[in-house]
Symmetry: C2
Subunit: 569 residues, 2 copies
């Protein structure tokens, strides 16, 4: 890992070089042309939106040893200059510079205890570190890594499906709840040959898709067809699949919110398309304004971009807003009118923390407006990694696709077939989250207690963090309505911005790095998600457990005050 | 599903149209140019190697209803003409026409019992059908779907890791072996926070990679580095990752054996590259001849193709040969000399059935020749889906990458990061197959009995099928040395070839369809894998359990005799 980290500056430079030559050699119209006087166009295009300064690695001092290391590979056939430039272009900012710095501090603390004004324990709060310096990133919503416990019923069913030969044993009655045993039998009956070790249908086991479709129907009050469900290893592969289907060239654009979850920018880059941004309105609680969508669409089209789809993340990541139903109706109408596929990232559908907002799926909204299967193309992404379950490591999820012709569906099916199927444990969990224990089931009470405990704790933590941010000088934070994040804006003093420039860092990266060095707390700079140029944000998860949240807040508050004292204009 | 199936002919036609226009609009040199006088170049390029006739679907009678159905989607934005042409171009033949026919027969038997000269039970032998007409494909090696049982120790550990809260309960001692409990504790200790529900490091949990690296060392007698291991959801995503890295355009070629496992052709098509074929020599037990490699490389290069990597499948799929060590050395030298990345598909490493052959990993061979980390770029793919374990549904596997510079590795790591991590159950199983119970462990005896039982039964079934094929008129079958398949050649009489032409089918597809209609047995035509033009093959798995194998053989024998009587020249 450290070997990789020490390569970062070279990579970035090579990346820039590569983009430069790509653009110089390219004759295709690249969006947005208003940046076309700049030499590295793609790079600058992303930079503008992501608001990042060129970022020499903190480990640039090792570049000479690096050079000699790289040269040793001179007799091997593959170099960064000869790999797919789309891979080079792809960025995945949530695992970027600040996390590399955190890893370095970690090692320094290990090699030299007391070398920093915080102990390893605190970084553990945020990062969770093993004896082997392996790091799990809290910059990605990863609840179990920060101490959240799995839902007992779900894990009981999973264990029984993995090892069905204990189902009939008497000891099993004492170890497992009666309804988990019954559910395991039901699920096994749905699996051909009861073989949880066999490849399934490429879309996932039909019986589990039936269960999921029934769950969607119960949620929305509109029919759902199991043949529309594609079970996937988490939501990410489903997003990639849609990007692979829709993107033919750099001229194909995908509308994405800014700020966005960087899976989208990464996937668009990997598939060679263009990210067309629309800005969420921070002043209106990160609202989606149709006028902004219209302006950006017009601008993209006038630049020769064929905008194919609109990504909406609801509840929002990293912004935490929950869309109002009215707003959703406008978005549906906009997509319908403009001929855009609506890609609805609904993985936080269970994570809503305020009484005046509710989650409504885009399919429910579209159907309630009278739009049927053949009126609008709509994909909903769901995941077992979020919600109150947070089963990130199990890699389960699905997409529900509606409004695609049989020919196009056949193509989606074919792409799914090439990877055979998603993992069966993830498939089982996806069916369980859409069909949890019901009133009267033995596990119902404990399940409800676990679920409510997790969600109400998340709501409390979100509120505490939101209040803490808003109490600080120059910090404003929208209400945490949903998802697992806060994205406060930090009004950085001019002196701080200059200090950042002098060390060649983006101002928000500089702020976050200073925070990390002073306290061991790891936030992600806003530039990883995109932000209005000239504004600076950080993303924090709400996931540290409650016994740690106060410590995080008090350390952060102390740091921020000292930072402002140092740099106040 | 049937809705999709009925679309096939339209899709194929649309596909052809689309390829045609792609090629007409293309100015890039496409390989092989000797086919450039043909209108649909890419298509014909693949067709030549895969030896398939244009294939109108058996369900073309439904195309008119299909047309009206498709038209209903006229107000939705995505059509087959506007999706990514690489998706259209991708073929995944093992789930093709014959399986569609099997599904139809299935339905007919259900609707009208006795409508075919075999009962549903037999198709179940081969396809495994549920009450819902869901079909699992034996055309893909999927042992558990055909009744193979999972290894008890592996499933015990998996269940305990899924539900660790029972580890300390007294009932657990009665239900699980002592060493499975101990192993579960060990594995949980290797997982940060013991959280099997958390995202892991993007390459997989470090402790599990340590175990796998130690397993590779024990197998090869040469060091393995856990940092070289990337755990993946089966081997397929690993193959895609390497194709994504290596392929920049149609001008980049990947050397593949013909016959090949169609994952490779599909992945190359999806990433927009060119498959450069080399033919295995059927007369020499499907041997790899260096002279063939040299000729094909020269030919590709003279056509402007930059050949970047060589795929070797050992033991072979669909061909079942195990490479001799001498031959492997020649291949390593060839890759070294020609600057090719060696992509070694070693997923059948445990499946060797003959005493005079042994599996040797390409890394072991390269290291034993004195080639070190910096001398040759080598990727080994391994999977939990094959071997004696056959855990296809768990989607686990890894690639071990050696001989890539730190900069290139950083890029591979980044692509892995975008999908966060592979599923933890699959990761755990990958560590278990590389570190099974040892002498002295409580489970050792039962584990060994299960493993040997499965492998010796596979060997017996392979031998029986091989002998049956070779006893038939006009059928020759190479020795089944390894993997899970036989790929016999069928010398089809001229009259049969003409009969196939008259119904617009490839001769091998015609033969296999007739077999299916007469007996309910599903083999895959050789055209799905590629074969020397003018030769015809079928692929059969060796996976039907022993109590069914005799029935398969006797039905097949009877069919073949009657077919030859009908068409003998």
């Amino acid at each position: 890992m450290r070997r990789f980290a020490s390569e970062k500056s070279r990579i970035i430079l090579a990346h820039r070089r590569n983009l430069y030559s790509v653009v110089q050699n390219s004759t295709s119209p690249l969006y947005p042309q208003r940046f076309s006087q700049q030499p590295h166009l793609c790079s600058s295009f992303l930079l503008r939106f992501f608001n990042t300064a060129p970022s020499p690695s903190s480990s640039s001092s090792s570049s000479s040893s690096t050079d000699s290391m790289a040269n040793d590979y001179s007799s091997t056939p593959v170099t960064v200059d000869s790999i797919n430039p789309k891979v080079l272009e792809c960025e995945y900012a949530v695992r970027g510079e600040v996390v590399t710095l955190a890893q370095r501090l970690q090692q320094e603390l290990k090699d030299n205890p007391g070398s920093h004004p915080f102990d390893e324990k605190l970084i553990e709060t945020i990062l969770v570190v093993t004896r082997d310096e392996e790091i799990l990133y809290c910059n990605i919503g990863n609840p179990h890594s920060l101490g959240q416990q799995p839902i007992t019923f779900f894990r009981e069913v999973l264990a029984l499906c993995d090892h069905p030969s204990i189902l009939d044993r008497s000891e099993t009655q004492g170890l497992f709840s009666a309804d988990s045993i019954e559910r395991a039998f039901q699920i096994l009956d749905q699996i051909p040959g009861r073989a949880t070790g066999a490849y399934s249908h490429s879309q996932g086991i039909k019986g589990l898709r039936d269960t999921i479709a029934a769950g969607i129907e119960a949620r929305d009050g509109f029919p759902a067809d199991p043949n529309d469900i594609f079970l996937t290893d988490g939501a990410s592969p489903a997003v990639h699949m849609m990007m692979q289907l829709l993107i033919r060239s750099k001229n194909d654009g995908i509308f994405c919110p800014i700020p966005q979850y960087p899976l989208y920018s990464a996937s668009i880059a990997l598939h060679g398309g263009t990210l067309v941004p629309y800005y969420l309105d921070e002043a209106k609680g990160w609202g989606m304004e149709i006028s902004e969508l219209k302006n950006q669409l017009e601008s993209a089209r006038s630049n020769g971009i064929n905008v194919r789809a609109l990504v909406v993340i609801n509840p929002g990541n990293p912004t935490g807003q929950v869309l109002a139903e009215d707003n959703q109706r406008q978005i549906v109408d906009f997509c319908k009118k403009e001929g855009l596929v609506l890609l609805a990232d609904e993985v936080y559908q269970e994570n809503v923390y305020v009484p005046d907002k509710q989650f409504h799926s885009f399919k429910k909204v579209a159907r309630s407006m009278g739009y049927g299967e053949k009126d609008i193309s709509l994909v909903s992404f769901q995941s077992i990694s979020k919600g109150y379950y947070g089963e990130c490591g199990k890699r389960g999820g699905y997409m529900e696709i509606t409004g695609f012709s049989p020919e196009v569906r056949q193509q989606i099916y074919k792409v799914a077939s090439v990877n055979l199927c998603s993992n069966i444990s993830g498939q089982i969990l996806a069916s369980l989250i859409m069909n949890p224990p019901k009133v009267g089931d033995e596990s119902y009470e404990s399940y409800t207690a676990e679920k409510d405990g997790i969600l109400s704790s998340m709501a409390r933590r979100a509120k505490k963090l939101e209040e803490a941010f808003n109490s600080l000088e120059g910090v404003t934070c929208n209400r945490a309505e949903g998802a697992m994040y806060l994205f406060p804006r930090i009004l950085l003093p001019k002196k701080a911005i200059e200090a950042a420039k002098s060390v060649n860092k983006a101002p928000d990266t500089y702020y976050v790095s200073r925070l990390l060095e002073a306290t061991g707390i790891v936030f992600v700079p806003g530039s990883g998600f995109g932000q209005v140029p000239g504004t600076w944000h950080v993303r924090s998860t709400i996931l540290p457990q409650e016994d740690r949240i106060e410590a995080v807040i008090s350390l952060f508050t102390k740091f921020h005050k000292e930072f402002m004292d140092e740099f106040r204009d």
